[in-house]
């Protein structure tokens, strides 16, 4: 950007309550998630700026069998206020919306009809399918009925978190409610952003790419390659200790203090595809392995059953 253009750009941001420092930090975080260099930051900035200049793209956020952790993760995005107020238009989101009861139902109905084929649907939580979906309802309709009525009308659907993507914890054995991820439950393909919780930078990167009309390449489990192409192990800062046979055998030990490899304590990093070590969480503060805890494989389908017991090697 030219100097004057740049100044105008930051002036406009200031008016939205976003400082230049905040914005650059934010873009650097996004760049880390998308695996692009810092020069790609301009591209990110342009996409957000473009999005902020016209009508904001409508988003319908559905809550099914979930714990609201994915919404909470989204709320941890730096400058989330600017995203909600100026970047996207959150038409329906049960955790933050003012309306309740039939006024809330009205918002959902109006958004889906007014923006048919144009809205982005974000799904949090999995869908109960046994017994006609009796295990979960909103406003008297089962999750299954709501999913079938809303999701096919979206321009694109993002399954946010492991529950929406693959079933997650409600689907752990014995899966009493027959919970399934969105694609398994209703046969509509989705962009899957697993994680328990998912990294909010991966959500933002996906939205930015979508607004930029960039193709988003997915792996066999529907995960964007920009974030999920490599394992946690491949990107782990403790990898050299693995290669040197330097392992932690007990929590709280000298080896734990030295930051040795957690493989022998059950770390699932080698089987888990995600960008936690590079994107990190909460503005780059940390991620589980940095905090000395083995990876539990939370972005893999079925991890509650396939990766447990968590503290044993598999």
């Amino acid at each position: 950007m030219q100097k004057t253009e740049e100044k105008e750009f930051y002036d406009r941001l200031e008016k939205k309550g976003v400082t230049r420092r905040d914005f650059l930090k934010y873009c650097t975080g996004l760049a880390a998630s998308m695996g692009i260099s810092a020069t790609g930051v301009v591209q990110v900035a342009n996409a957000i700026e473009r999005a902020a200049s016209g009508p904001r793209p409508p988003v319908v956020w559905l809550h099914f069998g979930e714990c609201t952790g994915c919404s909470e993760a989204f709320l941890r995005t730096p400058n989330v206020g600017a995203i909600i107020l100026e970047t996207i238009s959150v038409e329906y989101h049960e955790t933050i919306m003012a309306a309740a009861g039939h006024q809330a139902e009205k918002s959902l109905h109006e958004a889906v009809e007014a923006h048919k084929g144009k809205f982005i649907c974000i799904v949090e939580g999995s869908i109960a399918t046994s017994y006609n979906g009796a295990y979960g309802k909103v406003g008297g309709r089962t999750f299954l009925e709501i999913a079938r009525a809303v999701i096919p009308k979206a321009a694109a659907t993002i399954a946010l978190g492991t529950c929406a993507a693959y079933g997650g914890i409600p689907a752990a054995a014995p899966n009493p409610g027959g919970y399934k991820g969105v694609t398994d439950a209703i046969g509509v393909s989705t962009i899957n952003l697993p994680g328990c919780p998912p990294n909010p930078l991966n959500l933002l990167s996906t939205i930015v790419k979508y607004l930029n009309k960039e193709a988003i390449e997915l792996d066999e489990y529907g995960r964007p390659l920009f974030a999920f192409a490599e394992t946690v192990h491949d990107r782990c800062p403790r990898l050299k200790h693995f290669e040197n046979d330097e392992f932690v055998e007990e929590f709280g030990s000298k080896e734990a203090e030295l930051g040795y490899c957690l493989y022998n304590l059950g770390c699932k990093g080698p089987e888990t595809y995600n960008n936690c070590p590079t994107a990190k969480f909460n503005e780059g503060t940390s991620f589980p392995i940095q905090a000395g805890h083995p990876c539990i494989g939370c972005s893999e389908p079925g991890f509650w059953d396939t990766m447990t017991p968590f503290y044993e090697e598999i």
Binding site: G69, G81, H93, A98, K106, I169, G177, A256, N282, A291
Partner: protein
């Protein structure tokens, strides 16, 4: 018979909740709470490794994240007779304290404020007068420019026609009584709090790896030994300071300013006599001295010692097979087989009805503040008396929707202040060369244990039974089960149902007043509901009936 209103979904909460009320002469005459989702985490735990349980139960809720994990490791440590090292206790306290700071700020601004603040009316405010009001209620300097920018930002937002999360709110309702300037002040802080909470959550990530769902707890201690250094302690301290400044200079002044316009709510939404607090924040490793004291109030402000053996769960009005009220160790979760009906004269909820010595007890910030006050805790007495004096209200006003919302603010101060001491303790320990964060232990063949804590929404207990090193039975009784439970065998209603009775309703089509009391409890239904029956698929009307 009065008019029936059903609100489903209740929004700005965690989970899927339905509330039905009967209205007569513009007041609520009767009320029923019903949970609408089941996942069955207790059933999943059977036969699994007790060390894994905390990861599973933490996914009960991502809003009250961490707290179930803490209860769970405490239950296993109780069963296996493990005493955790001092540093582990302090780090757990700090993460728990950070959870309260974060959760209560988010609750006040993002889940509860819109019940009192008319965001659209804020557009009529004068920014100069708003800045004056702000400086009047808080020591923090305020500029008219700041409020003007916020007003313009909201104006652009409203004029875009894309109201997003503010669409179809009860704006203009006669029960909103704040002047436009107070509405603008609160709206500006709503946006500011969105930013602050993201930062406050970083406290979890410093020692816990991430938020939500921090990943650093293990049975026996914590894993973040590498983060136990002065840089990380300082990093945590800086965020704690900024959060505390927001609490002292924004949250509490806003709470007091808004409360001063809604003093009539000091006489609405009470009706409960029994209160229960497990207490929390051990000040030493033997866990005898607690920053938040434990106790049970039967009536008034007289506090009895806590006895967890007196806890039972009743399923008479919930969709479970008939059984006698039982203690959680003997607790079963057996949904009735066959079709179930939502029938407010019979069974109407999947939430069980917990009782303490046979009584429905309210849990949460109000219960904790009342127990501390009743026990003569000097900090609680000072804060409560100062608040009541400022508002010109008596202690009766504590037993209300206003009292509940104010109590949440007051305990945010108490816990925030205590955190400073824990940071100092950590520094002293590491300067002495004590970096112990984990206690080795071995799994017994058979054992039973209980993990209690008091969490943002109230008293939380997990009970585990271990056999052959695996989980034989696991039950938890959570705050929203206490508060949102149905009636029991004797027809005695749950605390929230009782609280709603007598609430004035100006317009049955826009039952704003009901939301105020419901939200004052900060409901978390994903935690509260244990099992739903598989054999029904009924649909109900959601309109005003």
């Amino acid at each position: 018979m009065g008019k029936r209103i059903m609100i489903d979904p209740i929004t700005r909460i965690e989970g899927h909740l339905r509330i039905e009320v009967e209205i007569e002469n513009n007041r609520v005459k009767d009320a029923w709470c019903s949970g609408q989702m089941f996942r069955g985490i207790e059933m999943m735990l059977k036969g699994r490794d007790p060390r894994d349980a905390h990861h599973f139960v933490q996914r009960s809720c991502g809003v009250c994240t961490y707290v179930h994990a803490l209860s769970s490791v405490r239950a296993v440590e109780d069963a296996c007779k493990i005493t955790i090292p001092d540093n582990a206790r302090i780090i757990r306290n700090l993460i728990h304290g950070a959870q309260f700071q974060h959760d209560h700020i988010v609750h006040f601004y993002h889940l509860h404020a819109l019940d009192w603040v008319d965001i659209v009316d804020a557009l009529r405010a004068d920014p100069v007068k708003t800045a004056k009001l702000s400086e009047n209620v808080s020591g923090r300097p305020a500029s008219a420019e700041y409020f003007k920018t916020t007003r313009e930002r909201l104006k652009t937002f409203v004029e875009s026609g894309q109201l997003g999360p503010f669409n179809n709110g009860y704006w203009g309702h006669s029960a909103y009584v704040l002047p436009p300037e107070a509405n603008l002040m609160a709206a500006a802080h709503y946006i500011e709090a969105l930013k602050l909470q993201a930062k406050a959550a970083r406290m979890h990530a410093v020692f816990g790896g991430k938020n939500p769902h921090p990943q650093f707890l293990v049975v026996g201690g914590v894993t973040s030994i590498k983060d136990l250094n002065s840089d990380r302690i300082t990093e945590f301290e800086e965020i704690w300071k900024e959060t505390k400044a927001f609490v002292d200079e924004v949250y509490i002044p806003d709470l007091m300013a808004i409360a001063s316009f809604y003093k009539d709510w000091g006489g609405i939404g009470g009706n409960n006599q029994a209160f229960l607090a497990y207490g929390d924040y051990a000040e030493n490793s033997s866990e005898t001295r607690l920053v938040m004291p434990s106790g049970f109030i039967r009536k008034g402000l007289k506090v009895e010692d806590l006895n967890v053996d007196l806890i039972t769960e009743d399923v008479t009005r919930a969709w479970y097979e008939k059984s006698r009220p039982s203690h959680p160790y003997a607790g079963k979760t057996e949904p009735i087989k066959g079709a179930v009906r939502y029938n407010t004269d019979d069974k109407y909820s999947w939430v069980k009805a917990p009782r303490y010595d046979g009584l429905a007890a309210e849990v949460g910030p109000l219960a904790r503040i009342l127990v501390a006050y009743g026990k003569g805790d000097s900090t609680a007495m000072r804060l409560v008396n100062k608040t009541l004096k400022k508002l010109g209200l008596g202690t009766d006003a504590l037993f209300s929707t206003l009292g509940r919302t104010a109590a949440r603010g007051l305990e945010t101060i108490v816990i925030g202040d205590a955190m400073e001491g824990w940071l100092d303790e950590l520094r002293v320990n590491i300067s002495r060369g004590d970096k112990k964060t984990y206690q080795s232990w071995t799994m017994p063949d058979k054992a039973k244990g209980c993990g209690l804590n008091d969490v943002p929404r109230g008293a939380l207990g997990h009970w585990i039974e271990i056999e052959h090193g695996k989980i034989k039975n696991y039950q938890y009784v959570v705050p929203s089960t206490w508060n949102f439970g149905p009636a029991d065998a004797h027809g005695k209603k749950g605390p929230v149902e009782r609280s709603l009775i007598g609430t004035p309703i100006a317009d049955p089509k826009m039952p704003l007043e009901i939301l105020r009391t419901i939200h004052s409890y900060d409901p978390c239904l994903a935690c509260a509901v244990h099992v739903i029956d598989p054999h029904t698929n009924e649909t109900y009307k959601v309109r005003v009936v």
